[in-house]
């Protein structure tokens, strides 16, 4: 068995290195590398079919990679002696035997991990599944209830790492809020959270770090602050031509958005100074926030979907 690197000494909790997976000539995951640190929520963002789920399945040992490595705390997932106690995994809340009750599914998971039966009741209560609901068969569960059951299965072993694939799917707004608070608290206590989503705003409100994937490749990664800072500045002026001329003269990259605003690759303060020097009064000047990220994300979505023009 490979030597285990103690997490608190150094290094990220999850390390994905040059991971690739091909199906015939189709490359689902193409040299993907990223890390997830303890005490932080890492958002794994990408359009449907970008390779998120394949990456997470390789990480959890369900899919063999074509090349590259995926390690949790320095070891392969399959080499963890009792993985449920170290890594909580929820890949697909609907992937459960429809004929089992929710309580039974959780009991089986707890039994596999070697946990006492009493924890099942406590966990059901924690994820908000009532006594009555827990005794129903999963075929009668809504997607939201399945997500709660899946979260319960992931959390019951009190793991240090959570790997969740689209956990907010099917949750109502209150459920999404609940999930967000739960994951935030989990990370604040030193846990590592890696969660995927195809919705930018969902990830934006919870994640500390972002990894963006498109067509099997990582297209952007960094802290949320970095990625948002890189988004640039939105600026408007009645005299738009004067503004763009001033920006062009200063050699500042910029684009005019369809609604008439100018998206500038630069700090708001710098843009303001340039406008003042050129004598162009501004009507709006603000940080673009997620606008740049969203634009990149939309481009990704467009190139990875056939109806690209519509996106």
């Amino acid at each position: 068995m490979p030597a285990r690197v103690a997490a608190h000494d150094a290094g990220p909790m999850i390390t994905i290195e040059s991971l690739s997976k091909s199906y015939g000539r189709f490359t689902a995951v193409d040299h993907v590398s990223f890390t997830a640190e303890s005490g932080r929520v890492t958002g794994f963002l990408g359009p449907n079919g970008a390779g998120k789920s394949t990456t997470l399945r390789i990480l959890t040992g369900l899919t063999p990679p074509s090349s590259g490595t995926a390690l949790v705390d320095g070891v392969r997932f399959a080499d963890l002696p009792n993985p449920g106690r170290e890594v909580g995994v929820l890949l697909d809340a609907s992937a459960q035997h429809a004929g089992r009750t929710g309580r039974e599914i959780l009991t089986v998971a707890a039994a596999t991990m070697g946990l006492p039966r009493v924890q099942v009741d406590a966990m059901l209560e924690r994820v908000g599944l009532s006594e009555d609901e827990s005794c129903r068969r999963v075929r009668n569960y809504s997607l939201g209830m399945r997500q709660r059951l899946g979260i319960a299965t992931a959390l019951i072993g009190d793991p240090r790492v959570l790997v969740l694939d689209e956990p907010a799917n099917g949750l109502d707004p209150a459920g999404i809020r609940w999930m967000r608070d739960l994951l935030r608290g989990y990370a604040d206590q030193g846990g590592t959270v890696l969660l995927s989503s195809h919705l930018l705003h969902e990830i934006e409100v919870i994640a500390d770090d972002l990894v963006v994937i498109g067509n099997g490749r990582i297209v952007a990664q960094g802290t949320k602050a970095e990625l948002l800072a890189g988004a640039g500045t939105v600026v408007r002026a009645r005299d738009r031509d004067g503004l763009t001329a001033a920006l062009a003269a200063a050699g500042v990259e910029h684009t005019v958005t369809p609604d008439g605003a100018v998206l500038v690759q630069g700090e708001a303060a710098h843009v303001g100074e340039l406008a003042q020097r050129a004598g162009v009064p501004l009507t709006e000047l603000r940080s673009a926030d997620s606008a740049g990220l969203e634009e990149m994300f939309l481009e990704l979505t467009a190139t990875s979907q056939r109806e690209g023009a519509a996106a």
């Binding site: 369900l62 449920g84 106690r85 890949l91 697909d92 004929g99 089986v108 039994a111 604040d188």
Partner: protein, 271 residues
């Protein structure tokens, strides 16, 4: 746009939770979990109940319709064998295939990623069910024998030796093993169940036809027909040659495909 990770953020890093040494999952626990999963669904519960129910029905049929001189324990044993070789293998098949057909394997194999251990636990589990199920069925048959003798007004006849019983137990567990093997090969409930009926009903018929009409196959048949070789276990006493034939046919029809199915399952992608 800057898209690379550079410096950490300004917030103080939260200390990672220390690793707690976790003992590995013992094999006995995996077997217990797999046994539980065989019967904790409505379908599973019905299959479990049907061991007793079909044994009772088969025994009742003997009591009602067999002539008085045939009311013996071995008659009950033969009658019980038929439903048992259907019910027990289906339990074995579903134990494997439900992980794929119902997709519960996503959870099973993330909680216990060394699939070989899970498959072994399932194999041990279905063998336990095969033995206990046969014992329960024969228990019901023994009651039927007592009842049948009382109805017919004769003394109960216990004409099944321990050796004969053990051979029947072996035959039952061979059919359980075939079910388990087909589950691994197909990893789909419907395909594996159809496969089982082809194995136990279609292939023997074809083999019989071939032997009836083709001279060259007649001498070969005992060495390639697994079903024929297994039925010898119900005979009074199989010869050494018949044991060899059982071994050879089991190798062809059970051991080799079991190995192939295991390798396929270990390498497959769980989705």
């Amino acid at each position: 746009m800057s898209t690379t990770t550079t410096s950490p953020t300004t917030t103080a890093p939260t200390p990672a939770r220390p690793r707690v040494e976790v003992p590995p999952i013992p094999a006995t626990r995996l077997v217990a979990v797999e046994l539980r999963k065989m019967f904790d669904t409505r379908a599973g519960a019905w299959l479990l109940a049907s061991i007793g129910l079909t044994a009772a029905l088969a025994s009742a049929a003997v009591v009602l319709w067999a002539p008085d001189e045939a009311i013996t324990f071995s008659t009950f044993g033969t009658a019980l064998g038929v439903p048992m070789t259907v019910v027990l293998p289906i339990i074995a098949i579903l134990s494997v295939t439900s992980e794929w057909s119902q997709r519960s394997g996503l959870t099973t194999f993330t909680l216990a990623p060394r699939r070989g251990r899970v498959l072994l636990a399932k194999g041990v589990g279905v063998a336990i069910v095969g033995v206990l199920g046969t014992l329960v069925a024969f228990g019901v048959g023994a009651l039927g024998n007592l009842l049948g003798a009382a109805v017919a007004g004769v003394d109960p006849v216990w004409d099944l030796s321990l050796a004969e019983f053990l051979r029947i137990l072996l035959a039952m567990n061979l059919s359980v093993a075939v079910g388990f093997m087909l589950g691994l090969v197909f990893r789909s409930s419907a395909a594996a169940i159809v496969g089982y009926f082809v194995y136990s009903f279609v292939l023997p018929t074809l083999s019989g036809l071939l032997a009836a009409f083709q001279e060259w196959f007649r001498d070969l048949q005992p060495w390639v027909d697994f079903n024929l070789a297994a039925t010898r276990l119900y005979d009074v006493s199989p010869t050494g040659e018949q044991w060899s034939q059982l071994g050879v046919t089991a190798l062809i029809w059970l051991v080799v495909p079991l190995a192939v199915g295991t390798v396929l399952t270990l390498r497959s992608e769980v989705k």
